[in-house]
């Protein structure tokens, strides 16, 4: 199979090759002795394939190796810029391009409220950057699409404006603002921003468990897995996880069922809540809307909720979360979550882990994964959490409480709802906040993103044996 087909972009493929190699060396206990050779293993020969020369390629790869090994320890943010990989993209904002034909209409001039547009002797438009406020109105009205917005892809991706340009013209992340959602990681065309990986921790956890002799290592997988590993069957992914050495696999969606029940009850009691599932959304709320902090649901996330249950019921258990999310790597470091989840991986990293052991999941038998209800599973897509809370109210006979949910699809919509609430102008009584567009299936740690992802999550939900929340969690009492 063509390996690049597993990913959306070649940047992800490159990152994967580094992760796979680092993990492979770790399994063989040869990482230390071969560490400096990894860039050359990945880019052999003398012909550059990505950059100006192989030496720069290898220098950048050496940085990628560091990130694959956990990244800089002096910075807690799990999102890191590889400054030598940053191509210093133009960031001039709105600019008139060669396509300007010097027309007569000059709609751009009329559209500009700041008087920033003037014309030369050929009637070609020019933008006075001292007057321009980057509103984009001129670009909208130009019939030749001659005005382009030269914005760095990382800055365009970062809707919360945590990325600026430093004195060396490279991207720089403001850790005080960053919510670790990974949007910039996925969008940078040069792969110059990356999420730190804890794949070595997981290799170590797997090794030391010695197939359950020393402790039982649980894989808790996010329901968005239903839109991933599309080249194989979900049951084969489960077999692959057990082949890696995990004791068993449990759905984070069962934690979602538990959260849906508790959160709907909490909502009926308090009258207003913002959701606590998405760590990037919670972090964003905490950093920007301190007055709303008391309204954040007191429930742990589904991941932490199910991990806590596992640790309470199984002696000597350790838990690795596997999902689409870079922010989960930040969440597992929180004091409230740390005792329950030992490490977090993305689907990208899981692919690298399989291949570091030469596990071809398509050749494996199908195992089963069925713990959660339909409602727990649909948490993976925008709107699913609100549906589940509505169901939770119904099943617990709390129908008197009238749910008016606003499902915020992406951090921009979250911002809108939170701002309204902070000014007491929001009419809804429940904010479902998902930092990624589409919900978790839009996460930066996904292997692939596609138009069918939502339908796949819904189908996976319908395949659950348990059809309602109380049935799924009754087993836990």
């Amino acid at each position: 199979m063509n390996e690049t087909r597993k990913f959306d972009t070649k940047v992800q493929y490159l990152k994967y090759k580094v992760l796979r190699e680092v993990a492979k060396q770790a399994w063989n206990d040869t990482l230390l002795e071969n560490l400096l050779d990894i860039p050359k293993i990945i880019v052999p020969g003398k012909t550059p394939t990505m950059r100006c020369c192989v030496y720069k390629e290898r220098a950048i790869l050496a940085e990628r190796v560091k990130i694959a090994m956990g990244g800089r320890s002096d910075r807690s943010n799990i999102i890191e810029v590889i400054d030598i990989a940053c191509d210093e993209c133009p960031a001039a904002g709105y600019e008139v391009t060669d396509s300007c034909r010097g027309c007569l209409a000059h709609r751009c001039e009329d559209a500009c409220k700041r008087g920033a547009i003037s014309f030369d002797h050929n009637h070609v438009a020019h933008i006075d950057k001292n007057k321009c406020v980057e509103c984009g109105q001129c670009a909208k009205v130009c019939p030749y699409s001659a005005i382009a917005n030269r914005k760095r892809p990382c800055q365009a991706a970062c809707k919360i404006k945590a990325i600026s340009i430093n004195e060396n013209n490279a991207a720089q992340i403001d850790d005080k603002k960053c919510i670790s959602c990974g949007a910039c990681v996925y969008q940078c065309p040069f792969g110059a921003i990356s999420d730190k990986s804890y794949i070595l921790n997981v290799v170590d956890l797997l090794k030391k468990s010695q197939l359950g002799k020393n402790y039982k290592l649980f894989a808790v997988v996010a329901p968005s897995i239903s839109s991933q590993f599309t080249y194989a069957k979900l049951g084969q992914v489960i077999s692959g996880l057990k082949k890696l050495g995990f004791h068993t696999v449990v759905e984070a969606a069962l934690g979602a069922d538990m959260v849906a029940q508790a959160e709907s009850k909490e909502l009926a009691e308090k009258g207003f809540l913002t959701s606590s599932c998405c760590p990037a959304f919670v972090d964003y709320t905490r950093k920007n809307y301190p007055t709303l902090i008391p309204h954040i649901s007191h429930n742990l996330s589904p991941m932490a909720t199910i991990a806590r249950y596992i640790k309470e019921t199984t002696a000597n258990a350790k838990v690795v979360f596997i999902g689409p999310c870079t922010a989960k790597k930040m969440e597992v470091q929180l004091d409230t979550v740390k005792p329950y989840v030992d490490s977090a991986l993305t689907f990208e990293e899981l692919q690298a882990l399989f291949d570091s052991r030469d596990i071809d999941i398509t050749a494996l038998e199908e195992d089963v994964l069925d713990n959660a209800s339909y409602f727990g599973r649909i948490f993976a897509r925008s709107g699913g959490l609100s549906d589940a809370v509505a169901e939770g109210l119904k099943e617990q006979g709390l129908d008197d409480f009238e749910l008016h949910a606003v499902s915020c699809d992406g951090i921009e919509e979250c911002k809108k709802a939170l701002t309204l609430k902070s000014k007491n102008l929001l009419k809804e009584n429940f904010i479902e906040g998902m930092a990624c567009v589409g919900g978790c299936i839009g996460g930066a740690g996904c292997l692939t993103h596609g138009a069918k992802d939502k339908a796949q999550v819904d189908r996976y939900g319908q395949e659950a044996m348990e059809k309602n929340i109380l049935d799924a969690i009754s087993i836990l009492q």
Binding site: T248, V368, N371
Partner: protein
């Protein structure tokens, strides 16, 4: 007496919820709540033999249909 029912995927599909619910009911009906501790765990590593149940350290294979027999013979008689 500690009774643990496997609630992992494989046993769940074979009906572990019904085993748990019946045991909960039977324990309450026979007023054994203070003598029998009922709990769940994910996967006992014997998926072919599900629904897997342990009483203290002994292993049993139970199905939803024979849960009542299992209760009478292994729990009620021995507690």
């Amino acid at each position: 007496m500690k009774v643990t029912v496997c609630i992992g995927s494989s046993c769940h599909i074979k009906g572990s919820r019904h085993v748990v619910e019946q045991l909960q009911y039977l324990i309450a009906e026979n007023d054994l709540g203070d003598k029998v501790e009922l709990g769940g765990t994910f996967c006992m590593g014997q998926c072919q033999k599900g629904v897997c149940v342990t009483i203290d350290d002994s292993f049993y294979s139970v199905s939803p249909e024979d849960t009542r027999d299992f209760f009478e013979k292994e729990i009620k008689a021995k507690v």
